[in-house]
Point group: C2
Chain length 204, copies 2
Amino acid sequence: MSAVSCTPNVGRPRAFDMDAALEKALEVFWRKGYDGTSLSDLTEAMGINKPSLYAAFGNKEQLFLKAIELYESRPCSFFLPALEKPTAYQVAEHMLHGAAMNMADSNHPQGCVVVQGALSCSEAAASVKEALINRRVEGEQKLKVRFDQAKTDGDLPPDTDTGVLARYLLTVLQGMAIQANNGACSEQLRQVAQMTLQAFPRAG
Amino acid sequence: MSAVSCTPNVGRPRAFDMDAALEKALEVFWRKGYDGTSLSDLTEAMGINKPSLYAAFGNKEQLFLKAIELYESRPCSFFLPALEKPTAYQVAEHMLHGAAMNMADSNHPQGCVVVQGALSCSEAAASVKEALINRRVEGEQKLKVRFDQAKTDGDLPPDTDTGVLARYLLTVLQGMAIQANNGACSEQLRQVAQMTLQAFPRAG
DNA sequence: AGGGTTATTTACCGATAAGTACATATATCT
DNA sequence: AGATATATGTACTTATCGGTAAATAACCCT
């Protein structure tokens, strides 16, 4: 069964692949942002008409939120998998190098849709902006919790302020999203990642 | 004479203060982004009608670019003044602490309009997006040149890669803009600034 | 084959977008 | 005072915005 579709066995079958269409929608939102994306942009990229879009995904806002869910659950996502690494240093290493690789990947828009999808926006986009802020803050919180565990595990010095460390790392990651939008390539982002890691506290 | 107005001595005098109106426009663009800002948003905030706006500032795009010029030349701007500090470390210190103070200042929208004014945007905003990218890249280049000078001055180690150092610092600054949008306060940003400074190379 | 159900197509809705024509108001210059 | 020049307010234009009504098409089940 597909990740997003839930096909009934009655009625006319859907003529398009919902997952593929959602991928296309994600790419448009990623490149143009919520305010900068029109329904025409979406239907054109997804290869469907407006009523099909509304029937399948609700409306523009719900489509955006589903696209963000897809973004965070993709195989090439780097944030959540990095949390599983055995030490705090390796968590940071995987996040930073994953970000360097992913954010400048020319197979999709540059940067991170969670950062740039609705950063400054109209009042019509206020709720999706809030949703993205929540995602970013929750990511930071998850990283702090992981660093707390690392302190217990002994792979972070006991006097480490894990909240500041998590915020610092997220600041660099979010800054890398801007850098990718500036045109920085993976190698340039990797240098930033390396510099950040040099400052990273290690046990012992 | 005002920074932006150039009043002729014939004809009906302008009934509003161009500088004050431009400040208001800046604030709207800063909060809502280029795509998220409508002409009605602007005229309402500026307290003028559309024909006055067009006569005084050209069009939406030119108004935006003039607002960005104002932003970068304001007294509370922290980037260019920091370049004048005597050592590389003090340059970084002033930039980071200035950013921490300014970006979370509740007297204006959070973050940095050069970062968030048109990050992901419609095709209609492509040219202002390019203009903002150019500003960010030029800022990075200016910082690199300043660090090259610091190397000559002997307040950076001779093996310092000034390009990477400048990019790293800009990455943190741009990340701080996102953090400010996330709701981080000045003190939290200051902690990130302090952590960044700890990793900063110092001569001797 | 026919009924029930869902998807697609076309054409449309009211609202709002950016931008402007035009008449009027207010100044200076002679 | 009158001519000239610029600003303002009202009302408008064309295009596009997000979203939908209604007719038709394609499927499953009996």
